[in-house]
Subunit: 144 residues, 2 copies
DNA sequence: AGTAATGGTTCCACCCACTGGAAGGTCAAG
DNA sequence: CTTGACCTTCCAGTGGGTGGAACCATTACT
């Protein structure tokens, strides 16, 4: 299989597949003309990667998951651990976004959105600390 | 004010402030010794930027918000437009993350997490299209 | 006067996970 | 024999910073 075939079958852009080879996630063979020659197992790996990435696992997670995927004797607890860690990250992100949404939607509601120059959104962004109504997620600013 | 002062007062790292100067968000003066000399107005801008960024506005959004912030005659509708656009992005992100969370938490629940090598998480990631239970967010994979 | 601590400066490289594009080689069809 | 689809490599850029090296300025303490 050439890269175009695995791209269609896996749903990953060819560029991404080359990149995955670059960083050592797949190691396709080479044909005599220099083209990458993908085996069935490479396709499986790439499809696996596509699904894991679409679930938001980092490349590093994927590397570990792939190792476990290829290890016949792995313990399911290891995989569960990675998934649980990822679930925590998702929950953090969700909470952060929900807090942003809260604040921002309040501001948008308060804004007339007409031709007058008064705008509570800008007023809030410009306000000194302590002048704003309580906003829980402000603490998230330095939590990067 | 030197960069350390505005850093402390705005809560932004000095590196970030230099970066913001680089990309033209602030234009501090210079002292005779080459140090950046920040005015009160620069500090206000930086604090404004910090708050807008903490709400998840992109740098480009910030650039526009700053322009409006400095324009005495702007219409509040313009600001509202930017905020509404951002709110949409937040909602999309939220939906995507919630769908991921759903799928992943189902998988984690189904996984025994013991010493046996059977793992429904890996099984799902490896499954062919159509072999998996319905998962709404799969469509989000190409929606980047 | 020396020196150490604590600022400040520039510049260059790196992070993640790709993506775009240029310049060129290969292959099947008409 | 050319057209067009496909493949190759390599270099650069994205966003939003962050880390570090190498060096200058200021202040405080001996």
């Amino acid at each position: 299989m050439n890269i175009g075939d695995v791209s269609r079958l896996s749903g990953l852009p060819a560029k991404t597949i080359r990149y995955y080879e670059d960083i050592g996630l797949v190691e396709p063979l080479r044909s005599s003309n220099g083209y990458r020659a993908f085996r069935e197992s490479d396709l499986h790996k790439l499809a696996f990667l596509g699904r894991a990435r679409s679930l938001g696992f980092t490349i590093d997670d994927c590397r570990n998951l792939l190792k476990l995927y290829e290890d016949r004797d792995r313990a399911s607890a290891d995989v569960r651990q990675i998934a649980l860690g990822h679930l925590d990250r998702i929950d953090e992100k969700l909470a952060e976004l929900a807090a942003m949404r809260e604040t921002l939607s309040h501001l948008v509601e308060a804004c007339a959105g007409d031709h007058r120059p008064d705008c509570p959104i800008l007023a809030d962004l410009a306000a000194e600390e302590g002048e704003r109504p309580v906003e829980k997620h402000r603490t998230a600013r330095n939590a990067h």
